[in-house]
Symmetry: C2
Amino acid sequence: MKVLVVDVGGNNVKLLATGHREVRKVPSVPRFTPARMVAAVRNATADWSYGAVTIGFPAPVRDGRIVKEPVNLGRGWVRFDFRRAFGRPVRIINDAVMQALGSYRRGRLLFLGLGTGLGAALVLDGLTQPLEIAHLPYRDGWTYEELLGKDALDEVGKKRWRRFVFEIVPRLQAAFQVDEVVLGGGNSKLLTTLPKGCRRGDNKNAFAGGFRLWSDAKPGRRRPAPRKSARARRRPK
Amino acid sequence: MKVLVVDVGGNNVKLLATGHREVRKVPSVPRFTPARMVAAVRNATADWSYGAVTIGFPAPVRDGRIVKEPVNLGRGWVRFDFRRAFGRPVRIINDAVMQALGSYRRGRLLFLGLGTGLGAALVLDGLTQPLEIAHLPYRDGWTYEELLGKDALDEVGKKRWRRFVFEIVPRLQAAFQVDEVVLGGGNSKLLTTLPKGCRRGDNKNAFAGGFRLWSDAKPGRRRPAPRKSARARRRPK
């Protein structure tokens, strides 16, 4: 079956269908709604044929449903009927999970998406598990996303941001007890070297993950589904 | 097949075999070595018959092998030949993973063991995954274990410790995107109420997990495998 993969990001929606090699993009306009997204996607792919759709979406997804409105887009995504709007079966998956699935080779993988925010997912023996670690506190009141996301990069510059990556990623790798870490997302390109046990992701992997979601190759698998502060330490109240 | 489950803890080694109901204990003497442990266990269970052994062990275990010496016991555990010492097939599993497996019902579970330290594990559709989150920093330079472990409890008292539990556990629950959290370990008894979506563990579940490891019920499964700080916030160097 031919599949259209729709990778929804904060700046663009990227599109690729089975049998095509050229990725198309439509901009994620401000206050982007699902109806506008579907209209733009159908318009941009009017000459492509496909029997099913995968949507990689930047918000928590549970059992194939968006469960929380996205931070960087408009509203109305949770209740929207994508199947009806596309007129085809649709599978929705968290965008980090989609990239993780596409990057996966074997064993146990932690995927970290270094983009506007910080996406994360596990793949364990082919089974995907979304993670929402971006907003966990990490150090001195800063969350992981506040140190590894785009705002941090813009504010502190590449050099210090790379230092954050080299401090934090090995800790997460140890915490999750994985065989390897894939560093994806647009900003992974800014890393000239990678921490040990890491491999760089490729944005094409998002599409690979989207296609893989409809393949029958993995029956029985769930589809989609510091350093211590130097100052005086006092346990918080 | 009759199985002996050996649950190694910092204070005691707890023992139960198929067909028995009474848990036996031998003390974990200071500088406990694997040879002393096996001798004590064989001595304490001389009247029990069993054809295989599960060892739940408080250190990282990978593919059935202890990969790091334990913090609270003696040395020599990594290279010790347990199969030879017991004269029977032995499966070794991280102790938190064993309890998680025994506590598991369905869906996606995060197990947190509130004991001397902080053990953690995931069970996703029956697949177990160890976690080593205890030593990740959480807030103001304190790690999760330094806020939820026994030392914290002794130092700050039950009331504040419970507050830490109610602050941290829901965050981990959201980060790991699980259906439920099981709070096990000896100190979980000190909680009079539990955060939403949590269930209390039972130490018997450790044995259930140890037996389950040898059952054929799950073919194809890997066996064993802030609140923001109020003060001035400055990104760390």
